[in-house]
């Protein structure tokens, strides 16, 4: 049987990079009466389902995807979670 593995990729803006969308969400939440919010940052979430790979190979492959396409490392960080 085919063995599937799911990679969850979280892409977030690096510290110090201004996030006007996050700021707008923050303001909107304040407008709705949500108190105690110190900051909102918006990112991206991508799921990739891989087939027939070892955890190590999946990690290496998704890291390469992030470096080449999924994230722009000038402004973004990425985190990868693998789930068999």
């Amino acid at each position: 049987m085919q063995k599937l593995m799911k990679a969850r990729v979280h892409i977030t803006l690096k510290n110090g990079v201004l996030d006007p969308q996050g700021k707008a969400i923050e303001n909107a939440l304040g407008g709705l009466g949500f108190d105690g919010i110190s900051e909102v940052r918006q990112g991206k979430y991508i799921e990739i389902v891989l087939e027939n790979v070892s955890p190590a190979a999946a990690q290496a492959s998704v890291e390469s995807m992030c470096e080449k396409l999924l994230a722009n490392t000038v402004i973004e960080n990425y985190e990868i979670d693998l789930e068999a």
Binding site: P20, Q21, N72, V74, I75
Partner: protein
Amino acid sequence: MKAAVIVSPGSNCDRDVQVAIRQSAGTEPIMHWHGDPELPNVDLIVVPGGFSYGDYLRAGAMAAHSPVIREVVTRAESGVPVLGICNGFQILTECDVLPGVLMPNAGLKFVCRDVNLRVEVTDTIFTCNYRSGQTIRIPVAHNEGNYFADKATLDRLEGENQIAFRYCTTDGEINPHANPNGAARNIAGILSKNRNVLGMMPHPERMADPALGGTDGRLMFDAVVKALAIA
């Protein structure tokens, strides 16, 4: 002069550039489909504006990996003049031909209007028809024009005179009010280290005929044609 205009799915300024080149050069540019990696030998490559691949993921991110762009990167490195306008500028930063990145506009709105630009350098084939410090008027039309790079990169761009244009007031003053998108240090256009690549958010092809409201943009196409004829 032989020019090529790269056409991607979603390019929408390719024909405007075609008209501007035809007008300045008197020759017809090659309209080159992005999926064809066999780019003919040309004197100038233009990566035009638009919404290549619908701006999916990040503006320019997908187009930066299209077959012809790999060849454009090689040509740029070998010294062929490359002009990236708007989405073309975004693509050139995504494939690391130019440093930095174009982020969503600080005001979160699509900005579509004429802006004033101060010409910062005139020792390039693109800007040699302008006077240093001259204010020119050219339209912008973008959602991601907010130029960002780390401080070291910005300092290097300034130190090496790689900033070609900055957003300014009608009097040529550089201040936050003249900045339509939050771009770092009011940067509207930058050059590569060896100065053969120019990326800019404003659209010179949209100001290349009196019927469009002015000809400040035409001067850039005229300059390239003249410079390449001598070279």
